[in-house]
Amino acid sequence: MSVFMDLNLSYTAEKSRLQSLIETAAHLGFSTVAINYVFEPADKKKQDIPSPTPINELIDQLPIVQGRSRPIRVLNRLTIVMSDPSHFRPNAAEYRCFDLLAVQPTTEKLFHAACMMYDVDIICMSVTEKLPFFFKRAPVNAAADRGLVFEVSYAAAIRDSTVRRYTIANAVSLMESCRGKNVILSSAAEKPLELRGPYDVSNLGLLFGLSDGDAKEAVSSSCRSVILHAETRKTASGIVYTVKSCQQETLPAAAHCRFTQSCDTQVRFKEPIRSLPHLTTHR
């Protein structure tokens, strides 16, 4: 039994819909989901990056995953639709509240830059139009070495027939250049009826040209390696891991004792995650 993850659930402002989305995902067997905030900067006006609402405001009690005894884990993710190099500002402070960062390039240059240089975790493929550029082996291999993954989402294909053709066309051309590794499949579901179970999703991978083993990896272990990669971004390559702990200290008072609580941050050193080969899939 492996962990299945769906790293793209669209954020909607209605809380009840988001709650039923998460409950359906737990019922289907996904152990981890990520709520996706899409940010599309327009050229004219300056927009702010949306800040994520904390998980305990969205849903009070996380439902338990089907087949396991733990509750479902919900992460926050930001997707930036880029049509210009100035849209993505590396090391911006607003990115810190998101657990996962994704970028959707629309031109070949941006794709090349995203694969080689940008500090993101996921590169999304647009599914609603035929991609104007072709994938070259060099940036794709470089991205795979760095630990990035490419993402294909399937909910748009379920909704509409012409979009289905674009999805399959883009996905097949991606699989040709990346040879089936470092790919994740996720829904971009807005309603709970657009989610599909993990075995169905890995079967969709067969339609896109993945082999059986690769399709199953696309729903399970590649997603896990993305989450670990995102953790290394926050913690300086997985070496420094800060934990807040509260300590009580008693003041040496003559007349009466007072307890004050003070929080101090402990800095713990962990092994660099990249050096543990069985945790991340990279060549």
């Binding site: 087949g67 399937y154 657009e194 989610l195 599909r196 169905d200 079967n203 969709l204």
Partner: protein
């Protein structure tokens, strides 16, 4: 040994409101699957679907379906199942989706899996019971399931007590 082999797909029909599940019937589900396969894989898919495809079992209370496909091409036909968005029956469209739980070579293995799955569902339902009476019923059903050698009867007990919960 020459034997015609099939694959049985155990699927669960998920709807947004459970009362509409009762209106499903197996011919409607079969028609929905054939239409989806024809939409996705065209004439080739529709032809493959007509070989040995049928809906073997449908439980309207829990939404479980057994679909039978020929072994040679079951993956292709399975890949068309996620594209089903609604099932049309008696003039109404019920928006739903099919979630595949298990693939087996015979109905027996699928049934064994279904019994285990239903006991897991009962265990999941226990903390969500609203009053003591429901809790007693669920506990009785769980105890019934753990007896061995009474597979078929346990299956019926489980599905009966499940529909009392709804």
């Amino acid at each position: 040994m020459v034997r015609v082999k099939s694959r049985y797909l155990l699927c669960e029909v998920n709807v947004s409101d459970r009362s509409r599940l009762l209106q499903l019937d197996d011919r409607a589900v079969a028609a929905a699957v054939k239409a989806a396969v024809a939409r996705i894989h065209g004439d080739y898919g529709a032809a493959l679907c007509s070989i040995r495809f049928s809906v073997k079992y449908l439980n309207t209370h829990t939404g479980i379906v057994f679909l039978r496909f020929p072994k040679r091409c079951y993956k292709l036909l399975w890949s068309a199942l996620p594209f089903i968005t609604s099932v049309e029956t008696r003039g109404q469209k019920i928006p739903c989706f099919l979630n595949c739980l298990h693939v087996g070579g015979t109905i027996r293995t699928c049934q064994k899996f279904l019994i285990r799955y239903n006991t897991q569902q009962l265990h999941r339902m226990l903390p969500q019971c609203k009053n003591e009476e429901e809790r007693q019923q669920v506990r009785k059903a769980i105890l019934n399931c753990s007896l061995t050698g009474r597979n078929k009867q346990a299956f019926e007990d489980v599905s009966d007590s499940e529909d009392e919960e709804e």
